[in-house]
Symmetry: D2
Subunit: 139 residues, 4 copies
């Protein structure tokens, strides 16, 4: 699991005075990118190698809203990785009270540059499996 922290940007809020529900997908994406980075991988490397990994499904439950200037933590765990897909469980914690703001499941699939589903090479699979070892919660 990797945990990253950030603060709600003004532009992320809406007329209801809370963070717009679509922004949690941005934060989840930051969490997944951080997990890859911690394992020595960048989305750029993957794209350079012709591997795309579009989102196939997101399922998000919104529990408590965040407001402007709230600090939050995104917790990201890779729950499955195969040659055709990646699965994650992710949570956003509102740090002022520890409440769960949102929790979700995200599934990416691997595709080639034309968007056709593909199986990644085993060498890439082995490199990517290292994201399941990442754990920055004990630091």
């Amino acid at each position: 699991m990797i945990c990253i922290r950030d603060r709600v940007r003004f532009v992320e809020t809406d007329t209801m005075g809370v963070v717009h529900h679509s922004k949690y997908l941005h934060w989840f994406e930051m969490g997944r990118a951080a997990l890859l980075r911690a394992a020595g991988l960048s989305l750029n490397d993957l794209m350079d190698a012709g591997i795309l990994f579009p989102i196939a499904e997101v399922d998000v439950k919104y529990k408590n809203s965040c407001k402007y200037d709230d600090e939050y933590e995104v917790q990201t765990t890779c729950t499955a990785i195969t040659r055709i897909k990646l699965e994650f469980e992710q949570k956003v914690i509102r740090l002022r009270d520890g409440a769960v703001a949102a929790e979700g499941k995200v599934r990416n699939v691997f595709t080639d540059k034309d968007g056709k589903p593909t199986r990644i090479d085993v060498v890439w699979l082995e490199r990517m499996k290292q994201i399941t070892e990442v754990d920055n919660t004990k630091e």
Copy 2:
């Protein structure tokens, strides 16, 4: 059901050359707003009456990507409405080939201005039920 059409904005695309997955939540929101509007209701009226209706859950399956300048149709159906929640099924069709770009389920709950779950008044419920009658597909 209400159908609305629009065109992909450049800012909605990302480095992978396709629409970012979070943008479909914006389009779904436009579809729900159009459904309310067609029934003579505005989010503004609801907010003025102290009724908020944050998203409680979204579940989106992404099937085919849209690119810059693609025209798309958002199809929105209200599948449930009670004094405590609204449920919708929504679909984005990529018009150049009729492919389903994404389909999802969205659940809103009613809350007061402090975010506390609430039951809306029956008068509002009756007004809102009219969204289940909307059908612009025969026009």
Copy 3:
């Protein structure tokens, strides 16, 4: 000049209850794309030809705010076009009262795929000059 109309999306508003100032750049971009489209050009054609045209400068004056659900018109005029740059004057009109919401100047420069400033071919220049002829205000 080309005029396009649209309606404020909920996600475009912020905690102050008005449209976030960055969103006007999205609307300006839609106006410029519509101008190109009306002249038979697509940003996709340009990108396929290896021509990029990043923004070099924007100068926007904000006059009156738009709120959720406001209808607006974007008015776009190309004021200069050479082999190295494009210049535009753009205005957003709030349709409920005709007030100018924002007006701005935008300058694009042509670059190659690596972001290096470049001169476009005269054939492209001639094609692009047609955007100065577009006028949909008399229709």
Copy 4:
């Protein structure tokens, strides 16, 4: 002057492979918010006191593009503060090579909750003047 650092989010990029020009306005906003925060002020305090401060003008020159995962620094200086307006000069530095990605001027005006220009109270003016003293570059 206050300097803050962050990293380009994937969602901030577009089909041209670089950060969309509108996102620099988000980063500038983060810089201004950080400046206020460092002086013990929050946008929330101001809004709670009925003081809004919408953007009246932005003028941004784009020099070098940022890409996904680039680290950047936002440098923010308050250049004028009176009872009716705030002015800032802001710069985004691309950290991988120290290049200026963008530089801009931003002017906010104070308004009441209905968007009418207003003069802030001298007590607020004195508190806000502290943002001109902030300097985190020597730490």
